[in-house]
Amino acid sequence: MNAGDRQRIELLVERILTLARAAGADAAEVGATEDAGRSVSVRMGDLETVEFNREKGFGIAVYFGGHKGSASTSDTSEDAIAATVEKACSIARFTQADPYHGLADADRMATEFPDLDLDHPWQLETEAARRLALRAEDEARGFDPRIVNSEGASVSTHQMISVYGNSHGFIGTQLATRHGLSCAVIARDDGAMERDHWFTVARRADDLEAPEVVGRTAARRALARLGAGPIPTGRHAVMFAPEVSGGLFGHLVAALSGGALYRRASFLLDGLGRQLLPRGIDVVERPHRPRGLSSAAFDAEGVATTAKAFVSDGVVASYVLGSYSARRLGLSSTGNAGGVHNLTVLGKRESVATLRERMGRGLLVTELMGQGINLVTGDYSRGASGFWIEDGDIAHAVAEVTIAGNLADMYGHVIGLGDDLDPRFNVQSGTVLIEAMMIAGV
């Protein structure tokens, strides 16, 4: 995709907005995307799947006073465009008026579009992709005789253009690429099988981890799980590895989101100013990070994104708002319509070895299962697997246990942050050590 495609999609968005205005809408907003990519996977040394992706589509929201209607389609023929605009307008004739509906305020529209360095197309032919995937899988399968089976390795590349425009006259475009490599293998010992995987993802192919590293990591992780069993039920310190710790702060974002707040469906109602995390911990958003996996110059409503802290020195400093929920709460949009962009947990970072020493004994969690999180109350209960730590060292693998607590209490008892940030996730926190949680095992 190139400058010509960009111009074509921008013109499409403008044409749809013109149609909406002609249909009598006071205001309208349109998002259009095109995505092209391919993925190639191998399994047990042989090519398994070659997948070509190419999709497009647009969505429109129209406003007649406080009446709103939405429609979307993958069909960008002239007839379909007209029919989709008409459909959105006809829905708006039935919906009830909500004074909080509408575009984000015009003076909040992004006016600067810094180059975030997100677009790095990868001319990846099937054969080259197959060889890369094989390097990962071969490394994993050859790593140890107990690696007896494979779910394969795959390489993928995607390029996406997304254009957002609204009747303030705002139009913004983002071109971005996303490439990835993953591998999953199965280890067997004493009749028990354990599977694990690893992946790397980046805007630029050169930033991906080497296939051998991905394969080796997948193999190590599967092997490390062998011999896992439950542990006795009790209250212990719990350490979340970086591949799962981001989720803890993902729940924080969800609980601070405007939608949950105005629906009174959050355990952090009236949370602004509350000491939630220990002093010295910040949770910050950096939307303009070059090549960031969630970087964006504007949010889903065209509002300029800015660097900010949601938690500062442990205190809730900002909610996570789009314009609708902001109006409901009597506040201003924080530029987070559609979510957060590159969240990082900052604080005194220590080596994982130091944290393990501090913990002494407890559970290191490397995988979580299930959705047992109640955001209304903060109650948390999930399946977990990982390792039992004794005297600061790994004693044995653990599986088939649950960890339970309340998120507000867990945040208040964070007693250590690791220096091992995982760049693959939108929310990055490194290892997180929590003083105590209930572990149910045998």
Binding site: F52, H101, N149
Partner: protein, 479 residues
Amino acid sequence: MTDALDRAEAVILAASDLSMRSLQDALGRIGGGGIDFGELYFQTHRSESWGLEDGMVKEGGFNADRGVGVRALCGEKTGFAYSDDVTGRRLLEAVDAARSIVRGGGSGRSGQLLAARPPRRYDAVDPLVGLSAQAKIDLLLGIDAEARGHDQRVKQVNARLSMVHELCLVVATDGTLAADERPLVRLDVSVIVEHEGRRERGSAGGGGRLALDTFLADDRASRFAREAVRIALVALEASPAPAGPMPVVLGAGWPGVLLHEAVGHGLEGDFNRKGSSTFAGRLGEQVASVHCTVVDDGTLEGRRGSLTIDDEGTPSRRNVLIENGVLKGYLQDKQNARLMNTVSSGNGRRQSYAHLPMPRMTNTFLLPGEHDPADIIGSVDRGIYAVNFGGGQVDITSGKFVFSTTEAYLIERGRVGRPVKGATLIGSGPEVMGRVSMVGNDLALDEGVGVCGKDGQSVPVGVGQPTLRVDQITVGGTG
């Protein structure tokens, strides 16, 4: 009513420059020359939804999508490409991309297509046009009034009415020619209650492959509203759940998510062909207690997980997966069935034309036993009685699975006692199924809200079971 094949040809092909002849030509271009199976899957998908909040229906949306997915198989290899422009040129581009897993071109020959017209499992209705927009809005407003009127502790009511109409047409080099017209409706209600500083949520809902007026019949919509309020009020009273292994009685209906996670996924053909499932190579073995007979049945009339044909054109079936505890069969699609020298069980499903089909469940449930549910509860000295659940998840290789309660009670000396907060239950599939010691006579299927995720693809499914007792499973409470 017109036939689904006629409808599909009229709607899908007429809107393009394609004809049945050009589909045959496209199949000829995929097949042969090393490709042992080629398939074209055309789909149109229209959906509409309306959302209620603050006592108003202030959101409504519509989506239309169509496209064609082309698949070429060569042994264990798959080539796949798709297009959301349904034109002759795009179709041939997709054909050439999909068959690029082998060198050279197709044979140009295509065999005879045999039209399949299996018995319909739901009516060919379009739920988007059945009720007027105002009637849909009134239905939602009625839910708001019902929920708020039911108890003054109700502070928020959110409800969503969704309807989908889907038409698919599948042709393949094995002679498949089949089409399906699939309605799908769903109503979700969620409430927030507040009392003395505590807040809780409750949700309920249902649906199926039905017309929208299903929600008007038998007071069904109002019942969902009252059920959501009831669950939320129970949660207000809940105290911490216990922690550790103990007997658990699972209620009838939706708790059948147990079977979906503990058994269903592990029996999908792809995992068993590849040897990655804990159930691989265990046909004929005892994998559950003798009280357990588990079926996957896509033929149930109008159910959310039901299919007249699967997405490969195979008529859906009632498949016995486990009989009296003995493993009888796997869930198969065409590719895995061929590689395992068996036939498709009618479980080849895909989220859309833009996704590859794979073996998936339809409606999965446990057949009823002898016991009165009250006797099952009465048999437990100290444990949990769990009647509503959120989602679950399974690791099919180790067999470990979880599912999380949203409504559960302590059982003390055979009596149902105080409600306990949501807790995740964790166990190993074959072990937990081996500990099913009592099965009730009250088989019920869920109301029709199940969504199953696999490899990033979502499909609608159903679950069900009678009340049953698991002698021991780990309960993830805090107390």
